[in-house]
């Protein structure tokens, strides 16, 4: 029902693509991250929370339509519907049904309720298309509450030493999750422009975010000692950072579970916080949707696929241009 071609994940019956990486006529978009919602399509369909964010990234002139979770859209006899994926705001799994056969394209997802994105809902299907960014048994997330305790403790310690605290994560998703999760009673919270712009788009949708102050690059006199600054990973090592001196830097990403990438980034702290599934979550999601067939798209595909085959699934790999969370440690090709 779905096939992988040079443009993306294609449904020939309906003549639409899901998360295509080359420009196409009609694109159904799981979520607003750059590797899933790319430039150049004639028509976009995405969850209505993704719409303003995609417009913010690709321009208001694109032809984009919003859809609710659970709403069914028939295209040439094929039924498409969007269901919460729990990855970031507006993220969706796309369910495709034709003559009783059901496929689900999960995009990026996590099972953990982050209190901000609509929580993941398992969608029964025959074929489940999944990422496996963290599809190795070394990835086991701690409860986010514990991670935020660590972050808050670190911030307090830096504050006591008269330092600013810089914490990085993606502009869309992690940035807001950090903003919502940290303890605002400790001190003032600033955001890098890239994150503040996304915050603005989200607030304009009528969604409430905790307060954040934009870091004005022209304000040279500001004293950031004791404050927390949330920034995208790409801001690290640039001159933007200098005005916060003295400061400590931390990265919040699933990759921080491994000592190698943590040391490679040479930051002061790494916090293990991901918007993707860990090993257990991936296995749980696959089990719960009741599928027989699994297609893996990005991440540790060869290892994870072999593991699924041993668990009795008809599992195969399809190569895509999706990236997972690599940009958060500066190792994705598009970051």
């Amino acid at each position: 029902m779905l096939e992988f071609n040079q443009n993306g994940i294609y449904c020939p019956k309906a003549d639409v693509y899901i998360d295509p990486w080359k420009p196409v006529e009609r694109a159904l978009i799981t979520h607003a991250h750059a590797d899933h919602s790319r430039w150049g399509h004639q028509h976009y369909l995405a969850h209505h929370h993704s719409v303003p964010i995609i417009q913010h990234r690709l321009g208001n002139e694109i032809n984009i339509e919003g859809i609710e979770y659970g709403e069914v859209r028939k295209i040439k006899g094929v039924s498409f519907s969007f269901h919460p994926a729990g990855h970031i705001i507006g993220s969706a799994q796309i369910r495709v049904e034709y003559k009783g056969e059901i496929w689900v394209v999960s995009g990026d997802y996590k099972l953990e309720d982050d209190g901000f994105s609509a929580p993941f809902e398992s969608v029964p299907c025959h074929t489940f298309i999944t990422e496996c960014t963290f599809g190795l048994p070394v990835f086991k997330w701690k409860s986010p509450k514990l991670v935020f305790d660590e972050i808050n403790d670190w911030w307090r310690k830096n504050q006591a030493e008269g330092k600013a605290t810089i914490l990085t994560g993606y502009s869309l998703g992690k940035g807001q999750r950090l903003l919502q999760g940290i303890d605002h009673s400790i001190g003032e919270v600033y955001t890098h422009g890239a994150i503040e712009n996304t915050n603005q788009v989200i607030r304009e949708m009528g969604i409430e975010l905790k307060p954040s102050i934009y870091v004005d690059p022209d304000d040279k006199k500001k004293d950031y000692a004791g404050s927390l600054i949330i920034a995208p990973p790409s801001a690290l090592g640039t001159s933007w950072q200098k005005k916060f001196r003295p400061f400590e830097v931390g990265i919040a990403s699933g990759w921080m579970a491994m000592r190698g990438p943590r040391r490679r980034r040479a930051v002061d702290r790494g916090f293990v916080l991901s918007d993707h599934c860990d090993w257990e979550e991936l296995n749980t999601a696959i089990k719960e949707c009741g599928c027989e067939r699994v297609i893996t798209t990005h991440g540790y595909t060869s290892i994870f696929t072999q593991w699924l085959q041993e668990q009795g699934y008809d599992a195969t790999i399809e190569n895509t241009d999706f990236e997972g969370e690599l940009g958060e440690v500066g190792e994705g090709s598009s970051d």
Binding site: V138, K140, S143, M258, R259, G260, P261, R264, S302, Q306
Partner: protein, 564 residues
């Protein structure tokens, strides 16, 4: 172990020297005496010997995690660190899940125990790890005690330990068992912190920590605080190390102010004769006396209270032999007559650190040198050679001499200021090494493997080939020389251009060309290509060359003829 793990975490979280020293000092201020001694031991390369085969550990970790061994192995290749992989896979996903894992583990151990009664986990007997009595030394003793046990008892001990410890503690514990222990802090920094803690002079302390002492039996006081030279007969001096020269040699002033010798390619070592006992130490503080029976004669020939610094090399007919001659005997447990005849050794001495029981390190180089010359002349034994001083008028002449180093199996020149003291560790200013330019060859990358440590999860370890007709013949591996940004590009190339996978190794499209630099080239029967390189590394990425323009096996053989 909490305080030691806390120390480890702090050292691991920072790249700043000051912070590391501060963390170490604080640890020394607060830790128990016994733990301090073990910390000093671990940070000066004196680890406990490996007590378990890593194959067994891998199996037990996979079993405890409920995963097949193959996925454990594949995961290990991604993580790039065995201790870390084991600590993560058996990890609890949250505190509440811990009981589940416990249950799972006890099932496994029950089923594997047959008629034996399961020993109760230590945690239930001795309380949790917050118990301060379970410090570093407790866990080292634990690790050492495992060595003599039967396999199933070993396994039980390991599972019990994993069960009691949290993830970082497990990682540290696993590092203690597997032995591969680098904490991102040099012996020098540890010594500095310890000197601050004990209120001692850093150089003096560095000397005290040298040589042969057993962390099991020595007290902190005896090791660090007391100073009884008579107990330290075997103790070498900290080696003085040179930096590579940064500027043009002309800036060093008049060549006649410098003692200039060849930079020999062997094992840097000290030969000590004190109270008619002989000790041979390597720079890595390994006691090598037994490895070099040729030196036994010096017990009688050298006067009491003599310490020589020099290069141990294979040596025959008045000249040193290539390094790989020496290599044929380094790793051997027993040295047969044949090996000794095939690769006889000598010390090419270049410094005299102690004479007639007196520490000469503060005397000027020239003075130490003339004493050394006289001593060697008096002794007149083929196993003790003098590193010849090269005397020319101009730096230009030295340049030419340096270029011809390979013909003498030397790596270049050493420049030592004639009035220099013998310092402690690597210091700039008075001693410089001036190495010969490396040999180079342009080669095609054909295989890649993921790296370890901070290069984990990136393809950083490559195999290179040269052309033999239409065929690419692998001849060397190289891991270093690229910047982090270049590594990321090559990593992306590998992932996109994989042709085949053999376990952790990927063969890639033969497209990228690198200039491989190396210090020497030798014929080798152990290598498929028939050659072996000394210190191969990537000098630069030849973006300007296509694979077809890489060098050939004939080019390599040409270098072998010239320099082998």
């Amino acid at each position: 172990m909490k305080d030691f793990v806390h120390l480890f975490t702090q050292l691991d979280q920072t790249t700043k020297t000051l912070k590391k020293v501060a963390a170490l000092k604080q640890y020394f201020d607060e830790a128990e005496e016994k733990d301090k001694v073990w910390t000093i031991a671990l940070l000066s390369h004196r680890r406990p010997k490996r007590s378990i085969r890593t194959n067994q550990l891998r199996e037990w970790a996979a079993e405890a995690a409920g995963i097949p061994l193959w996925i454990f192995e594949d995961t290990y290749h991604v993580v790039g660190d065995l201790a870390e992989t084991m600590s993560l896979v058996v990890s609890e996903s949250s505190i509440t899940d811990k009981s589940e894992i416990r249950d799972q583990k006890s099932e496994i151990s029950l089923s594997s125990q047959d008629s034996r009664t399961r020993t109760r986990p230590l945690s239930s007997v001795e309380g949790s790890d917050s118990n301060p009595s379970k410090g570093l030394s407790y866990w080292i003793k634990y690790v050492k005690s495992i060595k003599e046990l039967e396999d199933d008892e070993k396994k039980q001990k390991i599972l019990d330990a994993w069960d009691q410890l949290d993830q970082t503690e497990r990682f540290v514990f696993n590092k203690l068992i597997t032995g591969g222990w680098r904490m991102g802090v040099s012996q020098k920094l540890m010594t500095r912190a310890l000197a601050q803690h004990a209120g001692l002079d850093e150089n003096q302390l560095a000397h005290r920590l040298m040589g042969d002492w057993d962390p099991e039996t020595i007290s902190f006081h005896k090791l660090v605080v007391e100073d009884h030279p008579e107990d330290r007969l075997s103790q070498p001096y900290p080696f003085y190390l040179a930096y590579p020269i940064e500027d043009e040699v002309e800036e060093l002033g008049d060549p006649s102010d410098w003692l200039i010798e060849r930079k020999w390619d062997g094992i840097r070592g000290q030969i000590i004769q004190r109270e008619d006992q002989l000790y041979v130490w390597s720079r890595g503080e390994e006691l090598l006396t037994e490895k070099f029976p040729e030196f036994e004669v010096f017990t009688d020939l050298l006067p009491k209270g003599t310490v020589l610094d020099g290069e141990i090399t294979a040596f025959e007919n008045d000249q040193p032999l290539p390094f790989n001659k020496l290599q044929t005997r380094i790793g051997r447990k027993t040295l047969s007559k044949k090996i000794l005849e095939n690769a006889p050794v000598a010390l090419i001495a270049y410094d005299l650190l102690e004479f007639e029981g007196k520490d000469l390190r503060k005397s000027p180089m020239a003075e130490r040198r003339s004493l050394l010359e006289k001593l060697i002349k008096d002794i007149d034994h083929p196993s003790l050679q003098l590193s010849e001083s090269l005397e020319f008028k101009s730096w230009g002449e030295y340049r030419k001499v340096r270029e011809a180093s390979r013909a003498h199996h030397a790596e270049g020149l050493m420049l030592k200021r004639k009035d220099s003291e013998y310092k402690v560790g690597r210091k700039k200013g008075d001693w410089w090494k001036w190495k010969v330019d490396p040999l180079t060859i342009d080669a095609v990358m054909i295989y890649a493997m993921r790296g370890h440590g901070r290069r984990a999860n990136l393809y950083t370890d490559y195999t290179f080939a040269v052309w033999k007709g239409d065929e690419l013949v692998p001849f060397t591996k190289a891991y270093s020389g690229l910047t982090d940004a270049e590594i990321r590009k090559v990593d992306a190339f590998v992932k996109k251009n994989t042709v085949d996978r053999f376990g952790p190794v990927r063969s890639v499209k033969p497209e990228l060309v690198f200039e491989i630099a190396f210090e020497g080239i030798e014929r080798s029967s152990r290598h498929k290509s028939g050659i072996s390189l000394r210190f191969p590394r990537m000098n630069r990425w030849r973006h300007d060359k296509s694979a077809s323009e890489a060098n050939t096996i004939d080019d390599l053989h040409g270098l072998l003829e010239l320099y082998g």
